[in-house]
Symmetry: D2
Subunit: 135 residues, 4 copies
């Protein structure tokens, strides 16, 4: 297992490009935040789909690190996203992940994505990570 | 229908943040390119998953614009990506989209993503776009 | 909206082949049950994948009928299933659906599938139904 | 690798419930057929979604057996289906699978499903199988 502080330190060192902020982690779940600005928007004043996928992927990764410890080479093997509502162009995106299965080689989780403060999710993601074998 | 030049002009005007380059469009398909640099990489020297999703989403969008004309408010409703091989950290990502169904309200397409010059796809995407009703 | 009794009656009349039993419906959710016998099993003493998909599809359909009333021509447009644990060969499969988005033309829901009495889901489904326009 | 005859024999012995007929297998692909009768239909005179999923799952499994030999405990880990056109109620369903990735532990393939004789697919599937470790 890894704590919020360990994960933040690891993310800053190994994923300096990431704009995801770890809000909470533990008990097979995680919450992350992504600020929304010009780079994240698209026509019609909404958050771009790839930004939502980025937040979901990050939430899933953080939940996994929280559960199995710092494993930098865990990789996403599949991800399905359903876009459900138009995100706000002025609110942060919040991603809340719950792990559904923690296997030896595959971990499955789901993520609900929200415009901060809204009760209804803007998108829903199910994703699978593959965990490299330890020697 | 929209030509390569019309789509490029539209993308530059409406999606100035996009790094996707339109390579070809027509006959219910499209090819796009995305340069790979520091911002696109992650630990282990590979291209990040969200960048691959971005390229897939762009390829799908360009193929749709090529088929039905410039419709800025078309939105992705769902997208499934399977990551299959480690992309090269030094080659552009190429996305090749083929539309599978062109309905009045939903368009479905698949995208194969490649590290330029490699014959085997690094990822495969199936996505659906919703087309706004014209009045 | 349709009640449990109305849905059961409709299912028996219009889907006489279905083996799904409606257990509960309402508040944008539904629970269904499917008995498991020889026809539903596969090598290794487990429930076949298509049976799990059948139960998920049925749970989603029942939840939708409960929400919008009897609409026989609603059709599944996409469905993603993740198989997570080996189902029991001797227990009924229970499908619990929660609707995530109820739009005018698309409804999205998720379904967790269980071997009866087990707390951990054997599979997880996200699916989308298209609702025909009423005239 | 396994031949068409070996796979047919295995399917008959281990999956006696299956109605899938192996039409062709080899070169990382497979074609299967499923007869359509009363049991496979639903209101509106079309083939039920779960039947289409069954055919896709079978096509994927046959392609995998053709590639890696008879491995009865290979299991589906995930499957995404997009329904695109209304299948004919009077024609067999044909499933054509192409494997996209053959890894040591995961195999990814796609399947196009057709009403026999129609050029346009009624549904498209991407699925992943997990291959048990050999000792």
């Amino acid at each position: 297992m890894a704590s919020k502080e360990e994960i933040e330190k690891f993310m800053m060192a190994d994923f300096p490009q990431s704009k995801c902020i770890v809000e909470a982690v533990g008990e097979q779940s995680a919450t992350v935040r992504h600020r929304i600005g010009f780079d994240e928007l698209r026509p019609g004043g909404t958050v771009s789909g790839p930004v939502l996928m980025t937040v979901a992927d990050c939430a899933l990764y953080v939940a996994i690190l929280g559960e199995i410890g710092i494993v930098s080479l865990a990789v996403t093997t599949s991800l399905t996203i359903n876009f459900m509502r138009k995100p706000s162009s002025t609110k942060d995106i919040i991603g809340k992940c719950t792990l559904l299965k923690i296997g030896k080689s595959l971990i499955v989780g789901e993520v609900s994505l929200y415009s901060e403060g809204d009760a209804k999710a803007v998108a829903h993601v199910v994703g699978t990570y593959s965990i490299p074998k330890s020697d």
